[in-house]
Amino acid sequence: MNFTQLLEHLLRVSKLTDVFSVMWEYLNHSGDPVMIVSQLVLIAFVLWVLFRYNTPNSKRPREVRPADFSDRFAQFMTYRKPLAPKSRQITQDRYTIVKHGSLNDSTPSDNPVVTRVKDAAGDVVDLTDFSTTDFLRLSRSVGSRQAAETTIASYGVGSCGPRGFYGTITPHMDLENHIGEVMRGLYNELIALCGKKWAPTSAESHAAIAYSFGYATVSSVISAFVKHQDYVVYDEAAPSSIQTGVNLSKSAHACAYAHNVPTGGHSSGRVASSVESAIERLEGAAALQTRDKQIRRKFIVIEGISAQRGTLVDLPAVLAVARKHHWRVLIDDSFAIGVLGAKGRGTIEHYADQGLLSDPAMVEFIRDYVMVTFTFSNALGSIGGACFGTKESAEFQTLNGLGYIFSASAPPYLCTVASHSLRTITDESEADLATLRENAVYLQDKLVNAGLPVVSSRISPMKIIKMAHPDGELPEGLRRADQRAISKFDDVQAKYANVCRVLRAENGFLVDRPAFSELDVLPSPIQASLRVSVSNKHSHNDIDRMVRVLRTALVSEFQG
């Protein structure tokens, strides 16, 4: 026995005697015979487990022997499951789009709110479209199509490579510069409004970076900035893109805050309080657990308009909380860009217009610690996404953003279209944006007057309608729910699917419902609901008729 072994042995003995003495004390004082006996049995068992293999003669190998391979293999083959897990038998809407109503056609489907659909039976019908989230119908505009055609003529369709390997073509750079310019313009307006003599932001201080896919944008951004040791707080009702980002970051300090927005109304600081409680919970837990003195990166991920609920976030309150606790803020403005603000520049502009972001400290915070991501797939009528922030953050993403480095860059024509739409929105569509918001409010009022429970905020052009039903909600998502709850939930979803079908087949309206996946990674609540999206091209007559039939269909489905 060498010295080390001796030391180890001594240590073990001393620890064991400690344990025994403590136990003995405890048993002496307790005086309960059942307790004493059971504790002794337990101790005996523990000792038996510990010393079972220690005699040299009874040494048994822990691993299975190679000779067991055939047994194990047979067992594996018997219980092997098919590659495709058995999918739930949920009702799917089986229809395909045949034609979008366009602006410059002389056909009857001239109207941009009309979509021609082929249903499961093969019949082709023209429907009034309340489903697509192309709120300004820019994807169908003549300008977008011309921009696309010109770009295809000079740059081809695909980009044939990631951004680093000659996949950065002029349209990509133009788009990034353009987004940067637009958002810097907004920041400079904020700076001018707050009355301080700060230098305006410039291309050297703030920049945008474009991704090729909207879904991957926010998840790449989150997983680039948030690493295992970092902190992130996100909305419990966040869409799967944000959830994927949080999951990929593998952050040890991730926490969801309660969505906490009153149905159909304005949030008045309640979100901020739930954000704050989440932050305090995280920081409190971290202070207890780790002796890590280093400052970590901390992010609050919020959505301007929630993709799952259509609610508007109370940005000034959240920013105040973030500033108080020194957290950075990442705003996912996918549904707000091209919708909110006089020039369609999203949530920040929306609140700046109301004069709620004029505090210099707040403006400084936005300038330095806020990042804005958005996808082009809604109001911008293209595919892709972008992240705007400080130059440093953009540079960081060019080295760490998974969706930026490893993915092929977007087809140049999609970039041109996004850029064109952005220009149209910021420069020419003040009236269109006003119409869109007016339509959104009109639709909300109509729905509420019809007695339908709308979850979304008034200003959101996407409305979530959730009927009161006890099974229409799963508090922890599909993956964690039990089989009975899921089948009940699916029944409720089937009701909504039926409403959609009735509206399609009998009334000529295209509405849809959010779909959910059982692969959701984080325990976030989901609600079966119906979704109606309005554009600036819808007339009041369209909306009136739709609300009327929707009400009839919903009431007969849920109360009949």
Binding site: V64, D68, F69, F76, M77, R80, K81, L83, A84, R88, I97, V98, H100, T115, S139, S144, A148, E149, A153, Y155, G156, V157, G158, S159, C160, G161, G164, Y166, G167, T168, T170, M173, E204, S212, F213, Y215, A216, S240, S241, L248, K250, I295, H326, T375, G381, S382, I383, E392, F396, N400, G403, F406, S407, A408, P411, Y413, L414, D512, F516, L519
Partner: protein, 597 residues
């Protein structure tokens, strides 16, 4: 004499180069540290965070790597271009006022031959793609630019439905599903395949999207050494033997994930052996054909098509050998007997050598596969999930998953790429559909009438010329003979900017690859060949690369090749052109092996 394949795959670095490489990295790190120390003293403002309450975005290591290592070669990376990524591109000349800390684009460009883009079949621009572009533009009169709704809602058009069917037929699968982004195809599908009791066994050099997919998945992950089939088999056996960690329950399923062509290595995966292992041990096989679809195979069907072809050739060779007993040397070495199997092309020495190498390499695998699957089988049926992207050969964007109808149905319902992400733009769908259509000649028409197949043949020709030349001239290149991705080893980090700058000055746009993307010593330059390049383009580029090889002293294999050339000249002089190289090898494994059963 060692066979050509083993020579081509040799990555043996001469030891002076090895030492010099490590020394260079050592110096770079030392200099960087010194620069950091001085930087902290002299220019402390840039090192101080403006607000102590917020953590810096860059960690210390990130910062060091970024400013002290990456910045030394930053002018070699991320060059923007001002043209379509076709055969010839306009690479923007960049300039900087602060040593490339920031840069701006000048109006000048380099006109360069494009070896950087993955434009394998030349559909990125020009005449080859004109027809496809017309179809894309045509789609704009029926659809907007996008569907503006997820696939699960109103984002699914008849174009998408048609493409899914076409794609499934093209790669002989029951069904297919398309996604709008290649990266997301992997990263959203892999988590859908395995549950918490499943195991993913992945190649160590798989693309980041597969790694991300694994990370997002709740299943367990194991990695085997790149292209090491023995290690793969051992990993699979151990996994089955030991079961799940701690509980030792058996796995519910094991999925092996490999790539068709490894983009940084240029190698084609050893699919027959992988299929053999998967079949023998009841694992499922997932092949990522991001680079190989379109670029490999006689019908552009990717790595399965490629190996179907090779195996048909080997079967043919076997039948031929067995039919003329006693004359096997003659059968192997008489080119007139081979005419039809090489797709009408007269085989040359190289073809026969490769065939013979394959015969040796796959002898055991073929026997096992024929034993398990019968005399006739197609690799398309043996791979459970075929994944690929449309970015490369198809010059569009997005990806697909093809497999059994059950699997695709499941993915359509559950994977995030279908449920909540935006669907592929209709224009891109049309481009892909049009390219796939161009792979089938009209009924009864010759192969040359199909635009796509012409491009496939051109790519194969360019690949042969290019690889042959580089090999003959003593460059160390990696990967398989047939792979259109040709990485050439530079080793020393100081050669990266040297080679890149010299090449682009001469009009050759390449991609140089350094540490995080490959191993520390094996810095390389990568040439991606394209069907859009003419034979003159290739010849011109090779001439310059040859010169560059002398300038940067990249011809690491010089001696070996001299010997090889001498041997070949001698063999030619003796007149027995096709006997060369087979005299001593015909007695070994393959032929006798086949005769014995």
């Amino acid at each position: 004499m060692p066979s050509l394949a083993t020579l081509l795959d040799s990555e043996r670095c001469p030891w002076p180069t090895l030492i010099a490489t490590y020394l260079t990295y050592f110096l770079i790190v030392v200099m960087g540290t010194v620069a950091d120390v001085f930087g902290k003293i002299l220019a402390f403002i840039t090192f101080n965070r403006p607000n102590k309450n917020y953590a810096s975005l860059f960690s210390n290591f990130d910062r060091f790597f970024h400013y002290r290592i990456y910045f030394r070669g930053v002018h070699c990376f991320n060059h923007p271009i001002r043209s379509a990524p076709g055969a010839w591109i306009d690479v923007v000349k960049r300039a900087s006022k602060d040593h490339f800390k920031t840069w701006y684009c000048t109006d000048e460009t380099y006109r360069a031959l494009n070896f950087g883009s993955y434009n394998y079949l030349g559909f990125a621009s020009g005449k080859a793609n004109a027809q496809n572009e017309a179809k894309v533009v045509e789609s704009f009169s029926n659809f907007g630019i996008t569907m503006a709704s997820p696939r699960a809602n109103s984002g699914y058009s008849h174009l998408h439905a048609e493409l899914e069917q076409t794609m499934a037929d093209f790669i002989h699968k029951e069904a297919a599903i398309i996604f709008a982004m290649g990266f997301a195809t992997n990263s959203t599908t892999i988590p859908a395949l395995v549950g918490p009791d499943g195991l993913i066994i992945s190649d160590s050099l798989n693309h980041a999207s597969i790694v991300v997919g694994g990370r997002a998945s709740v299943g367990h992950k194991k990695v085997f050494r790149h292209d090491d089939m023995a290690h793969l088999e051992k990993t699979v056996r151990n996994a089955i033997l030991n079961g799940m960690p701690r509980t030792h329950n058996h796995w519910s399923k094991i999925v092996i994930v490999v790539e068709g062509i490894y983009s940084m290595e240029g190698g084609i995966c050893n699919l027959p052996e992988i299929v053999r292992i998967a079949k023998q041990y009841g694992c499922y096989l997932y092949v990522d054909e991001a680079h190989s679809i379109g670029a490999l195979g006689h019908h552009a069907g990717g790595v399965c098509d490629f190996y179907d072809d090779r195996f048909a050739l080997l079967d043919w060779a076997d039948a031929h050998l067995l039919s003329v007993p006693g004359k096997k040397e003659k059968a192997w070495t008489t080119p007139s007997l081979w005419g039809s199997v090489f797709h009408g092309r007269q085989p040359d020495l190289e073809d026969l050598r490769q065939l013979h190498d394959d015969h040796v390499r796959f002898a055991g695998t073929r026997k096992a596969l024929h034993g398990m699957l019968g005399p006739q089988f197609s690799f398309f049926d043996q791979v459970d999930v075929l994944m690929g992207t449309y970015t490369k050969s198809f010059a569009s964007v997005g990806g697909y998953i093809a497999g059994s109808a059950d699997l695709i149905d499941y993915l359509r319902r559950e994977t995030f790429g279908a449920v909540s992400a935006e669907p592929m733009a209709p224009g891109c769908v049309c481009q892909i559909k049009s390219v796939i259509d161009s792979f089938t000649p009209a009924k009864g028409a010759p192969r040359e009438s199909a635009n796509g197949l012409v491009q496939v043949d051109r790519l194969a020709r360019n690949t042969q010329i290019f690889r042959r030349f580089l090999y003959d001239h003593g460059f160390q290149i990696m990967g398989d003979h047939h792979s259109p991705v040709v990485p050439m080893l530079l080793y020393a980090p100081n050669k990266i900017p040297a080679f890149f700058q010299e090449a682009i000055n001469r009009g050759i746009a390449t991609v140089v690859v350094a540490y995080p993307a490959c191993s520390l010593i094996a810095s390389r330059v990568r040439f991606c060949l394209s069907a859009a390049m003419t034979e003159e383009d290739i010849a011109w580029a090779l001439e310059h690369i040859d010169e560059l090889g002398d300038v940067c002293s990249l011809k690491y294999d010089r001696k070996k090749v001299r010997k090889e050339l001498k041997a070949r000249a001698r063999a030619d002089a003796e007149g027995s052109r096709f006997n060369d190289g087979y005299d001593d090898e015909t007695e070994t494994a393959p032929v006798t092996d086949d005769e014995s059963d």
